[in-house]
Symmetry: D2
Subunit: 105 residues, 4 copies
């Protein structure tokens, strides 16, 4: 899936509703909620605290990552940010800045 | 930018270093750190607490979103998750589940 | 409740179990999970997204804050940090540093 | 330090300024920012990513925990929540609910 296309799909999805975009600080809180749910899943997968027998045993990290990405796209849309550009700039930054912090194979 | 391609670029970037991927719980903490930095930026843009005169006045939300997406891709890579699929499934879920919670235009 | 006493109560609670303290990064993820749950509650109270009819309508922010504080105490205990001291130092810092950023009544 | 007293100290501190309490969702974002800063510190202490030579090498987790607690108290104050009560209820809940999930020494 292309990031620009994903931003359009999410925009169309939200704008079909009268409520439209929630205020930015509410969408940020939503992002935090989703990161919390990923933490919960990863804690079960990579930590000593197992799920209760009554809980769904499946690792739902994949779903939670989808929720995080969806909410990030919502925030980017309403702040008029091109996520593909953001990511490209981070990759460029790491290629320049961090090259010397680690050991090349 | 295509998500699958982005996952490859990040994988190649990381695997060129001897250190490779950090443990998942450390990458999760990194994600939380980046979400905290976005919160800081958004609080300045959408809240009453202005930046100190000594601070960079530019809204760096775009950079922070790039950092969040990069870190999410790192986690997805090491947990063998296809982010494009995750996002597609979220969009499908919302189209089915939430249609009735909001008011169609 | 006194913070030092609270740290003792939590320590005794945890040390009665063979498992003892979880690794620090797992307890950090737990903290993030609890902050996510508070975000969810506050989003319902202070935002446009109402709870589904099937959900508990009560504002559970009080419970979530208790969970956050409990988890923070767990982390402080295992990193040998005195939370009362930490808080005192923050209050001192604010009294010195931020006095001039705001308008006295 | 007593939690009730701490809530009073923070309240007096904030009410001396004309700006008073920030909106709740902004204070929540502030809490997330502080949790992000703790994550950063803990990642250095418990992970493979060392600080850059130009960075302060001290573990600032103690300061960050103070900031988290301060911000949590701010939120509790403005939502009229008694944190000592919240914590007591969590301890009670754990004593009843989780006793059987772990192995007594």
């Amino acid at each position: 899936m292309d990031l620009k296309e994903a931003q359009s799909i999410v925009d169309e999805y939200i704008l079909q509703f009268k409520e439209g975009y929630f205020p930015p600080m509410n969408n940020l809180a939503r992002l935090v909620e989703e990161v919390g749910e990923l933490s919960r899943e990863m804690n079960h997968t990579y930590g000593p605290k197992k799920k209760k027998a009554s809980e769904d045993q499946r690792d739902k990290s994949k779903d939670e990552m989808g929720d995080i990405l969806f909410t990030l796209i919502v925030l980017a849309n309403q702040m008029d940010i091109d996520l593909g550009e953001s990511l490209q700039e981070v990759v460029n930054k790491y290629n320049l800045r961090d090259k010397k912090r680690w050991t090349l194979e």
